[in-house]
Symmetry: C2
Subunit: 250 residues, 2 copies
């Protein structure tokens, strides 16, 4: 124990920093623009904990008291109605920040956040966030860009929901998953590890699970994909893309 108090405090900070902001999560998040000292300070103020699948981080209607940084894991952000029907608005993975929208708009949470895979989450309270945003304009601009991108995808989803038929939307969902969850095998085929249940996949595109199931079947029969459980092969990428490309529905 020949080490100074300085050094051991630095160790504590460094260790906590690594847990709050793992490299892979940090670099794809808005927080990457903060200086090392700012990050260190931030994560000393953070409330961090691990969550298990099934836990809920916040509910629709809850007052928004700050934002949640997802260090690792998988979270579903959804709106539910009394009958238990849900719409899955967003899938969050490591590096995503939850609740920034209601925080910035100054309203209550308009959706609930449910843990889908074991996660580590850090909470930053409104005061800390407010101070940080004023102290560091770059952070605000990062969130602004994020909000702009998400607004674009939200508008596209609305368009697709009202104009595109079921099969097209399922094909598009699979292609979205491809970008994030695909591995390419030696023979060139594409293997997806579907990260969520059929219920939730259906809830992402606003259809019933039964309809999704039937559509997966027809796509399978047509030789585009081959799905069993959470493993999905894309057998014919070109034709799958063609399903989405021309927005003609005849």
């Amino acid at each position: 124990m020949g080490r100074s108090a300085e050094e051991s405090r630095a160790d504590i900070v460094g260790e906590r920093l690594g847990r709050c902001f793992p490299e892979t999560a940090l670099e794809r998040s808005e927080w990457r623009v903060l200086a090392a000292e700012e990050l260190a300070e931030l994560c000393m103020k953070a409330h961090c904990r691990a969550y298990q699948p099934g836990e809920t981080i916040f509910y629709e209607g809850d007052p928004c008291r700050g934002v949640y940084f997802l260090s690792e894991g998988l979270i579903g952000v959804r709106k539910e109605d009394p009958d238990g029907n849900s719409v899955l608005l967003h899938l969050a993975t490591g590096g995503d920040t939850l609740g920034y929208r209601p925080f910035l708009a100054g309203d209550c949470h308009q959706a609930s956040a449910e843990v889908l895979k074991a996660s580590k989450i850090c909470f930053f309270d409104a005061e800390t966030m407010g101070a940080l945003l004023h102290a560091n304009p770059d952070l605000g601009l990062e969130f602004l860009r994020r909000a702009a991108r998400e607004l674009g995808t939200a508008e596209n989803r609305f368009y697709e929901a009202v104009r595109l038929d079921l099969r097209t939307r399922v094909a598009h969902l699979l292609l979205l998953f491809k970008d994030r969850y695909a591995t390419i095998e030696a023979d060139g085929r594409v293997l997806l590890d579907l990260p969520i249940s059929r219920q939730d996949m259906a809830a992402m595109i606003g259809v019933r699970a039964e309809s999704l199931s039937r559509t997966i079947r027809t796509l399978t029969d047509d030789g585009l994909i081959d799905v069993s459980g959470h493993r999905a092969w894309i057998l014919d990428m070109d034709r799958l893309i063609a399903e989405v490309a021309p927005p003609h529905l005849h």
Copy 2:
């Protein structure tokens, strides 16, 4: 003509400022956080002109070269497919800024903007915008709040599009219009001046014009509203609100 060059330049600036940023438009826009000198400088750099109904400001797919401030008028932001079916994403009125989303996200326009009523529009190029955002963090925070609010409404629209039936969505649209376009008559009844065509109203909630027409008919038969042309009376506000309130669809 005893006035100095100084004074007459100030007049020119002041006059141009008043045309670009009319009081009512400015105060509900993000730009209100700029100092008078900043506004003056900005509108000297702006390209302003008047537009007539039917003109298109930008098309889906166009590169985004800056943002458009709507001094007055009415603009429809829409996505169209080859068959001519359109979805109306947004109605912009005086004080709204168009194209800030693609500008910030760094992509092309993902929708086109069509003039619906005679408008006055000022264009600020990307360079000017970029400099301003860096020079004045408050402006960024304003746009951040705006983006957060719009993201919320976009997510709600998606939810409603996939979960709520036609009648509920029509009722909700009428109530949205009420907030912006209603006048309350002496006898307490509420009169709406519907700002857009049936086609476009239908395109806002992602349904066909025929379906909208039928639904307006049933709402009329039920005594909730009374519509002729672009004049709509809300006869029973409570029941109209009740149509929207409980999201049960039986």
